[in-house]
Amino acid sequence: MKIHIKNGRLIDPASKTDRPLDVFIAAGRIVGVGDAPAGFEPNSVLDATDCIVCPGLIDLSARLREPGFEYKATLESEMAAAAAGGVTRLACPPDTDPVLDEPGLVEMLSHRARLPEFAHVHPVGALTRQLAGKELTEMAELTEAGCVAFGQANQAIVDTQVLLRAMMYAATFGFPVWLQAQDPFLAKKGVAHDGEVAARLGLAGIPVAAETIAIATLLHLVRETGVRLHLRRLSSAAGLEMIIAARAAGIDVSCEVTINHLHLTDQSIGFFDAHARIEPPLRGTRDRDALRAGLASGAIDALISDHTPVDDDAKQMPFEEAEAGATGLELLLPLTLKWAREMQLPLVTALARVTSDPARILGVKAGRLTQGAAADICVFDPAADFVVSRENLRSQGKNTPFLGMVFPGRVRYTLIDGHMAFDGSLAW
């Protein structure tokens, strides 16, 4: 299959390219950018007039809910959501049922995910068995089975000695560790940022110190072990300052922020809107603004969807009993564009946070539009609106605090290895 994407504005953050360039694809790879290779005869021509052609988005955290939570979502439904959102590569956290702590499970998931219209899936293996924070998993075996990193999803390792050993063991083999920084004691029973909104609504709060204390612990252990640490789902300005200071002191650490924390604050809870029940909690305006600036400067490496499909039954509960999480795969691109527009950022910088930067953290050669690269491509219309509605969302998870809102940016085509995974000219 030979494809010619014509008349588009090509943005490739990896090479800092932003200009009108055609793309030529053959056998799943990019064979030419700008000029067609000699004798190129396309089977298919995709018109990208008024559209931006960029690398397929890379999402460092999307829950697919398989195995175990098929009533919340299935591989099929969430892969359709990924393709519709222009996401061609994603990492999934290990909190499935059973937990991704055995090589067989990882192999099965990878095997199930190997369809041409499916995004490339990188499982994150459990750092400890059952995510219980007690015993290490077979990290070398899990890596062979396809795990790119090890983490704990939303579970903390309470015992610091286990944490130290897990980091030492991962460092032995050079395996990256992806952890969320949240002190489990300070977060106990908490459901919202410990501030005015929680005080007013009578919700149990999680203080910023829950994040900063955990970051301090993790940074000390990175210094101790030399492990490659990626800090997941940063929520506070104070936490970001610690990371910036640590880097200045020579500690190599990467971090990410979610689309929810980039755009929302605890005010979104309104009168107990369970859509805004998010982990870690949505924090104050100053925190959000610091995260927005940090992502713009590159102090925060990547923007993630933190896609978490939650069924209606689990959301239609009193706020504190409702399950945390929101759908996100189809919002990653529109919310990147909204942030870029509000921050007056060049698109080539903004799109780096969802393409080349997460590729670097994943340690894969992806997220770029150069000759020879896999043809994982997103073509989107930056002027077309995306209306966030239950009907428009392809994910089985229909719950998001952005429901009812309208954002710029609609995907026209998503190509995965040169295969048309989503054709928006038919869908919309």
Binding site: D194, G195, E196, A198, A199, R200, L201, G202, L203, A204, G205, P207, G270, F271, F272, D273, A274, H275, D312, D313, Q316, M317, P318, F319, E320, E321, R390, L403, G404
Partner: protein, 325 residues
């Protein structure tokens, strides 16, 4: 299935009238005053030989108590019966471990029994909002929801009966200094009192508690924070004591009831720092010797029993305004 917008205040209808009573926060001063005015004639109903008015005749009021309560449930029951409503009491004990039927399934079932009003108590903050929104989303807006206490969030009828009591004894809110003393962190009563007092124009609302019993950011609700009870009580017109729950009397929040009483118990000696005509209130049930000395509880400045009496009139007023014929 649709969620109704959770950003707006769902208790007023499009004409600005009270459709549900979920919280005092955000209610206009006129609405609060109208409730207090409406309650006044109801205090006389209790003194008649036939203690009934026909305002809710033919209406069904469901007391939906997901959390144990004898006092509040009883006063709601009396209020509804004095309005001639049919009252159905449901005590639904749910522990988080054994949920069974969901909250909304329960509400749907009772709505199908032609309920006109739900009086809801629930251990989770915001639970009555969920029911009110669900009723609206499913076209059953005519079913009114009264919050009888949700988690730590609100207990609006308690807040209102407290305002009725203060108005009864002090007439004018605009010159008062009011102190709320005790476990503000876990108290839905305190939150409703604060919103009611600030809305009705009380110029100085104080909260007095150790730091472990105050929520972060409480000063943003328009109160002055005192950690020293003696300092906080100086010159106040009204002392509103809060109940300290048994499970919080010792542990990581407080070391012991003895030490709490010493620092934050209302004794005649501490009360002497308030204005000589200050009144003392308590939402009940009281822990004598923990948050309040018996000499104060039974003393001349306490208005704790009148609070209970007024509570029935205020609850009658709320129910009559929501669903009255």
């Amino acid at each position: 299935m649709n969620f109704m917008a959770a950003s707006g205040n769902p208790q007023l209808n499009k004409h600005g009238e009270l459709n549900h009573l979920l919280t005092i926060e955000g209610l206009p001063r006129e609405v609060l005053e109208r409730i207090l005015d409406t309650a006044a004639p109801f205090t006389e109903v209790a003194e008649r030989e036939v203690k009934k008015v026909p305002l809710l005749r033919g209406k069904s009021v469901f007391n939906l108590f997901f959390e144990n309560s004898t006092r509040t449930r009883t006063t709601f029951e009396i209020a509804a019966k004095r309005l001639s409503a049919d009252v159905i009491n449901l005590n639904i004990n749910t522990s988080s471990a054994n949920k069974g039927e969901t909250l909304l399934d329960t509400a749907d079932n009772l709505a199908a029994m032609q309920a006109d009003m739900f009086v809801v108590r629930h251990a989770s903050s915001g639970a009555p909002y969920l029911i009110a929104r669900h009723m609206a989303a499913t076209g059953r807006d005519h079913i009114h929801v009264v919050n009888a206490g949700d988690g730590r969030h609100a207990h609006p009828t308690q807040g209102l009966l407290d305002m009725y009591t203060i108005r009864h004894y002090k007439k004018d809110f605009s010159q008062l200094t009011v102190a709320i003393v005790g476990d503000v962190l876990h108290s839905r009563v305190a939150r409703s009192q604060i919103h009611a007092l600030t809305t009705l124009g009380v110029p100085e609302v104080r909260v007095i508690a150790p730091k472990t019993l105050l929520p972060t950011g409480i000063e943003r609700l328009g109160v002055r924070v005192f950690n020293d009870m003696r300092e906080g009580l100086r010159g106040v017109d009204v002392v509103m004591m809060l109940r300290l729950q048994n499970e919080r009397m010792q542990g990581a929040l407080l070391p012991s009831t003895q030490e709490y009483f010493k620092s934050y118990g209302l004794t005649p000696e501490k009360l002497a720092l308030a204005k000589p005509d200050a009144i003392v209130m308590h939402p009940g049930p009281m822990n004598r010797g923990v948050e309040i000395d018996s000499a104060v509880a039974d003393g001349g400045q306490a208005v704790i029993l009148p609070q209970v009496t007024f509570g029935i009139a205020v609850r009658m007023a709320v129910m009559a305004m929501l669903a009255g014929n």
